[in-house]
């Protein structure tokens, strides 16, 4: 046990500090039972299971953790969080890691999710509301040319049904909203 008063905090403590989670149990409580992995509906699309990721965090294997796609694959359904017998909140841990990887700029540039979250956030700061068609164009190329054609066809059908707005809506007091946000974080960090 480290008894010195000043020391560098561990990676696990760093992650826990990002949680603001007075409700959740510390990750040291993890017993590696894999209930979280079993509850996860998208675990097969993760390179590390939630159980392994928590184990890697506790082992201080930062590079391995930050290179993982696990936290960007989480859909925030909280099935793991509901089931953990130790009261750990793995879904909140995933959020903490996405923030950490954007903050430290460690995410893989080939992944869509980080850019999507950034773009979404920028839209809100510009208009106060989300606008689905605004995100789509940047990402549909993932599916190659046939994918683009299918997305376009679907967009046309939705348009015909009156379900796709052409003009993004905007809140009235957007200036106030921006000053409000500027009081909690620097706007130039996200814009």
């Amino acid at each position: 046990m480290d008894t010195t008063t000043a020391r560098r905090i561990t990676f696990r403590e760093e992650v826990e500090n990002l949680l603001h989670a007075e409700e959740g149990a510390s990750l040291v409580r993890c017993i590696q039972c894999a209930t979280c992995s079993a509850a996860c509906p998208v675990v097969e699309f993760m390179d590390h299971t939630p159980r392994l990721l928590i184990g890697l965090i506790n082992a201080g294997m930062k590079d391995e953790v930050m290179a993982s796609n696990t936290f960007w694959t989480c859909a925030s359904c909280y099935a793991c969080t509901e089931k953990c017998p130790e009261g750990i909140r793995p879904a909140d841990v995933m959020y903490a890691l996405t923030r950490y990887s954007l903050w430290k700029d460690t995410f893989n540039r080939d992944w869509v999710a980080p850019e999507f979250s950034r773009r979404f956030t920028k839209t809100i700061l510009r208009t106060g509301k989300s606008y689905e068609p605004g995100y789509a164009p940047a990402f549909i190329f993932e599916g190659g040319i046939p994918g683009v054609v299918r997305e376009m066809q679907m967009a046309m059908k939705l348009l015909a049904k009156g379900r796709l707005p052409l003009i993004p809506s905007r809140i009235k007091r957007i200036r106030n909203l921006r000053s409000m946000v500027a009081r909690v974080m620097p706007l130039d960090g996200i814009e």
């Binding site: 909280y78 950034r118 909690v184």
Partner: protein, 299 residues
């Protein structure tokens, strides 16, 4: 008359406009007044929490403060909006330092939040004992014998709100009770609390398509004729991307996906057009055109 501050959320102005109109129609029929939150802003979905926790908190705090100014408790039709507003409300009530910080920010929009209101999902307004009684009393036989899969989704019950017991989180029944009150026949739907893939539809397509395939197959296995949803993201994924599931899995799902308010509206005698039915990419005609007589016979 029961009144709520109504927080529609961004999707209900666009992709899920039919959820908005059907909610309004049903509320009106049941004598529930929904007063739209003045100049509300986006709840942040999952994206703000990916970027910054305080950002996610302050944007929800603004909506809470506006509702408090209107002197009303909030109802939200979208599971994600509901979860975000609920979580922020709880955090602000629990953490005085956070509330002070947020109120400093809210000053920029001449707002202040004391923490005097509550947040519910819109379904909660329709499953009170009084509302259920009114539905039983007013429902016609339009949904009689209709086998409906009650799809709750994730964030309507998770993360668990204090006061809910294990059964209420593992196997809630209020959606089934609501459908039964409206005359429908809710089927046991084992995947009723499983994730729809949410934003993975954009960020990880194969993962989202796999989760949707499971949900559709499970509904077919349960003998459902329609899946009823409580969330615009669940509805959009299940309905608009059903063709994508069929392509990916060489399947032929033709499962109508309707908002629970659309089914409720049918039972309460609201016109099909007024409920926004007919704007689907997967036709719901079989549900609408279903003769009540045939349904009665099948019993």
């Amino acid at each position: 008359m029961t009144r709520y501050a109504y927080y529609p959320g961004c999707s209900l102005e666009t992709m899920a406009a039919t959820y908005h109109v059907s909610s309004m129609e049903v509320a009106h029929k049941l004598g529930i007044e929904l007063e739209e939150l003045e100049d509300w802003n986006c709840c942040g979905a999952t994206a703000y929490s990916h970027v910054d926790e305080l950002l996610a908190t302050v944007l929800c705090a603004r909506n809470l403060a506006i509702a408090e100014k209107q002197g009303l408790n909030i109802v939200a039709p979208c599971n994600a909006c509901y979860k975000n507003l609920w979580t922020t409300n709880a955090a602000l009530k629990r953490d005085a330092d956070l509330a002070e910080h947020m109120n400093y920010a809210l000053e920029a929009d001449d707002l202040h939040y004391l923490g005097s209101i509550e947040v519910s999902h819109i379904m909660d307004a329709f499953v009170t004992p009084e509302a259920l009684e009114a539905i039983r009393h007013k429902a016609n036989d339009r949904l009689k014998g209709l086998r409906v899969a009650p799809y709750y989704g994730c964030q309507i019950v998770r993360p668990r709100r204090p006061g809910l017991n294990q059964m209420q989180v593992d196997d809630p029944q209020y959606f089934e009770e609501l459908l039964a009150a409206a005359g429908a026949d809710p089927v046991p739907y084992p995947y009723k609390l499983r994730c729809c893939g949410a934003a993975l539809m954009v960020t990880n397509r194969p993962a989202a398509v796999a989760t949707l395939r499971d949900l559709l197959q499970n509904a077919v296995d349960a003998g459902a004729e329609v899946i009823a949803t409580t969330c615009p993201l669940c509805q959009t994924n299940l309905e608009c991307y059903q063709a994508e599931v069929n392509r990916a899995y060489d399947a032929d799902y033709q499962m109508p996906i309707l908002y629970f308010t659309q089914l409720l509206g049918l039972a309460l005698g609201v016109g099909v057009k007024r409920l926004g039915i007919g704007k689907e990419l997967v036709s719901a005609e079989a549900i609408v055109k279903r003769p009540a007589a045939a349904a009665a016979k099948s019993e």
